[in-house]
Subunit: 731 residues, 2 copies
Amino acid sequence: MAFDPLLLTTALATIGVLAAIFLIYNIRKYPTGTEKMVEVWKAIREGSNAYLKRQFKTITTIAIVIAVVIVLAFGGTVNFTYGGEIALSFLLGVAFSLFAAYVAMYSATNANVRTTAAAEKSTYEALRVATLGGGALGFVVISMSLLGLSLLYAVFGDPGVLAGFGFGASLAALFAQLGGGIFTKSADVGADLVGKVEENFPEDDPRNPAAIADNVGDNVGDEAGRGADLFESLTAENLGGMIIGLIVSIILFQGVSIYYVTMPLIVRSLGIVATFVGLAVAVAEKKFKNPIKPTRDGLLVASLVAGVLMFIATWYIFGPSRVTPQGTAAAAYALYGCMISGLVAGLLIVLYTEYYTGSESKSVITIAERSKSGPALTVMSGTSVGMISSGLPVITVAVALLTSFGLGQQFASSAGLGNPFLGGVYGTTMATMGMLSTAGIVLTMDGLGPIVDNAGGIAEMSGAPEQIRERIEPLDALGNTTKALTKGYAMGSAALASLLLFQAFVLEVARYQAKIFDLTAITSAQATQLGTQLSGLGASLALNHPDVIIGALIGSMLPFVFSGYTINAVAVGAYRVVEEVRRQLREVPGLREGKVKPDYAAAVDLSTRTALRLMVVPGAIAVLAPIIVGVVLGWASVGALVVGATLSAIPLAIMMMWGGAAMDNAKKYVEAGNLGGKNTETHAATVVGDTVGDPWKDTAGPSLHILIKLLNTISLVFIPLFLTALVVLGH
Amino acid sequence: MAFDPLLLTTALATIGVLAAIFLIYNIRKYPTGTEKMVEVWKAIREGSNAYLKRQFKTITTIAIVIAVVIVLAFGGTVNFTYGGEIALSFLLGVAFSLFAAYVAMYSATNANVRTTAAAEKSTYEALRVATLGGGALGFVVISMSLLGLSLLYAVFGDPGVLAGFGFGASLAALFAQLGGGIFTKSADVGADLVGKVEENFPEDDPRNPAAIADNVGDNVGDEAGRGADLFESLTAENLGGMIIGLIVSIILFQGVSIYYVTMPLIVRSLGIVATFVGLAVAVAEKKFKNPIKPTRDGLLVASLVAGVLMFIATWYIFGPSRVTPQGTAAAAYALYGCMISGLVAGLLIVLYTEYYTGSESKSVITIAERSKSGPALTVMSGTSVGMISSGLPVITVAVALLTSFGLGQQFASSAGLGNPFLGGVYGTTMATMGMLSTAGIVLTMDGLGPIVDNAGGIAEMSGAPEQIRERIEPLDALGNTTKALTKGYAMGSAALASLLLFQAFVLEVARYQAKIFDLTAITSAQATQLGTQLSGLGASLALNHPDVIIGALIGSMLPFVFSGYTINAVAVGAYRVVEEVRRQLREVPGLREGKVKPDYAAAVDLSTRTALRLMVVPGAIAVLAPIIVGVVLGWASVGALVVGATLSAIPLAIMMMWGGAAMDNAKKYVEAGNLGGKNTETHAATVVGDTVGDPWKDTAGPSLHILIKLLNTISLVFIPLFLTALVVLGH
């Protein structure tokens, strides 16, 4: 063995975590501004902490119940030791995920007021603080995921156990994103409906009793929620890649090739290096016209660095240097081509986001113009843009799959591996890794959004000088753009990851059927047996079989029902916040005139209770549906359920995220003075559109990424439970 | 052969067509009312005829181009004779479909004014005329489909040729529903946006320049469009059933069993008898409190009659009387159980519609109450209701599939047939037939909706006495309910039909691969070969193969892009109608006061041009996508594309149809005087919700049924083209 990949990945992951801590340490050295700013800031911070504490408590309780179920399920089907290992791995997944979410929020609630204060100097200084804050999110999320997987693999050496970690990460992420998403949009929509529509307050007006809740929402939804979301994305993708690498190497080499298994981790750790460089570039740029330029340059440089590093690693491991015995130059090129196809697909999806939702794009201007005929046409046009926009990303993902599968087959033939199908699957794994090699810098871009949003809120509520607010405004627009970009990117990668995990699921089913549990001593008979099992599984997964069709039908309906419940939760929460805000404005004399401070805590508390209560039903549907289907109809139906859910979730999520973002920007287009500007019927119509889109783009849409991967990880973890079914339909 | 099934089905189909003509003859004997009524009526009728003429011209042109393509495609792959037969069958499908649509509209445009006039006597008389008008739609649609298939099978004896008929029916339906749907909602939304929102005109106010266009829309969209829609549904389902019957009998008996093949036609012809009885019951009931009672009783009686007749037929053909040599009592019971599972599933879906969209349902009242906080919450709640409502129907369809597949396996074992899988597939065919046995009476219910809608419009615009209008109003509410019911039923049956056609597609691929073209002389070697091909196909359709995944990904995106374009078309059309209406109100003095008549023709013409122009892009996507994917990636990808499209279309269509209907009824709930009633902010909010839902429920939603079956029939027709692919990925 030429070098220990796990040593490299663990070391880089540790450096990444330290980098996040270092960034936060740096941020905390910036001044916190005026006393009034600090007062507003503290209210936001306290609300955020209080919410997160209660949310963590709920998630921990659910996790412990599930851990017990895991121990019992495995105790009954395999053995208790294995069950205990998986349960431990699961709890670690929850814990790491919540830790990453907490650090992300801690960084954001420290960076927000300091961004406001830095704006006293210049826009550049403010952007710098916010970017550092986003960078902390990027580093902690990517590194904690890598660290967890590296350590667990070093200890257990079994990707089956690691599936528990993925499940834990998905579960925590689902509830964090759901709860945070419901909170943030209840508060946001509630604040807007009374504030903007009825009372004509500007955004973040201190007289609005829901103003603090709105800013708390940015932290718990967009920062902690998104942190947990991407933590699980990265984990799930690496997990899927590792399982595929394992099975590929068992079938091809009758043993575990550490390089095939850990290649996904290696690519991820190179991403940490790329993030360093990208972040340095983004922070170094002091002169810019458009504040998007530094981060965009950071993204481009990081992509380049990742591209170069991936080539070196691929060449070293799969090239003629022969760290792996079958390496050839052609094999390395083919595998590298897979990574590039993923990288390019990711960048293309980012471009499409701009095309459909950019503030000057044709679709946004059309939505704004049609709004002259009232809010119904705003929503109609926004829905239509969202639906149409699902076309290009899906085709891009399809082409990336086609390309990387084809190149993977070439890899197999160049490296002299006998199984072109497995080569193709490994190729698609590498495409996913390529797409996610830039995840760190994309996360940074995403993380700065809520920070500048909060900074603007603090400036407004503390009555900061006009100049500060003017300097923060372009950053706010930047934050909206980067948030939309990340969501598209996250969806593209979720699509690839989900299909990857499904392949891993099929391979794991074959492994369980071949009864290969001890990975340290694989006989060639076992390897042959695994290959036979695998080629036999295809027929069970045929689209014309009733158990596949039924599983897929139920799966494709789940994202709709799930989204329906989350949107309903926002509607309920917003409705309650509206009632509360109206009550305060009605009952508290002097509030409307700004003489008395509103009871901010009431709205925070209301949103908290709504979010924690209403996240349970959609969460339970997500967890129970695959388990019930699997127990009743067996593993093929669960696999089909996961694929069906992925198939409908991708276009549905894009429709909601991009439709919502386009309506948001149509409102901003009018607010920039077009079509009559603020205080017109047209503006009011765009506000309605924006509000309808709010839960689409910030609650339901991003939760769908997590939903499909949660379904994937559940299917992976509970394979032993699904291998027999209550109802058996003949094939 | 004990009796000739085709003789029976042809005879009953002919009787059905005559019944439709007889009903129209009867309707035309009713008086047309006052001179003013006739004047309004003529304007509506002329607009409807003019639109339909232009639409038919466009569809015919497209159809001729496609017919040429078919001849060339088959000339190059099989031979020109076969290509000519399929092209002929295709053109007949288009012609029969357009004829059915025309008769449906002719009946409606004759019944509308006579319904208004009959309301002078009583609500009962009005309902009677409208029901007779709906009955004509029901009979002509169901009978023309049956007639076409029976005759073509009698002449060619090859379900492969019949696939051309199905493709023709789907193509005509797609454009008829798209064009009609865009027309009706452009006019409706345009009329409402200015009329109700800006000018505070009531519905169908004669001062509204878009009032005639709105009523024309009911005829060309809801009547002609829906007629073509259901014509193709019934055709596609019978076609799929016949193909499955054919292949099942070839594999099991080494020959064509006319009973297996024509059983779907037999069940359909029994449905004609059930419709007679149901309609007679509905028309006979003279005393009722709620006008829904007569039609609902008609539905129940028709269901009962269909249930009894199906039992007799099944017993006679598959029971111990042994018309088919393998008949046993247990076999007949099992097959009958399949039919009942379908029948019950259909009735359940009708119940769910009521539960989610009924005017007194909890979800509708919730939407109305949340509207107190503005239109954003109306739309949010409506979307949420629509999304959640997709759960129960999908589960019901899944359970019906599971049950009928299981019973079909039992049928196979009871009848001593060797292949339980094919028995299961035949069982699901029978479930679909069972669900659709009541199609005639459901169509009648659907058809009366636009007639009473028009009757109300004519009463309003002709200034008929208050009493007449009051008598029509409850019928209008009835029409809304029955329309929503039919759409749910149509979606449920489309889901089953689409999966049926997919099974037929797989079987036909096997037949082409086994090179069985002459169905009159099948050797036992060929039959064995077919069985072998079929069991080998499963592996090619495995969900973990890249060509399947890629096809399914693209397929699942299509319904979204397609819906996006249709909703956009309505937004464009409505926007233009709004501009035109505003222009007339601004430029024509005396119009607003009712002294001058508006230029109705301008709005009709605008809607016509928008509809015909904007139906082309979504139509082209639907036709080209499967052909391109099939040529590039091969037959398995097309099959996966069709399944992917079905999977995402079902919940998406339900979301749009039921979400839209719920918002419509929330508006009606407020208009009935609840929550402050008309002329309140709450009412304005529900009007926005209703408008957003309009293209969902009447344009995009119902078009999706057709889309998925069009994809199915295209995949069936072009199999020879797809059997080789440009890009081949190894398995």
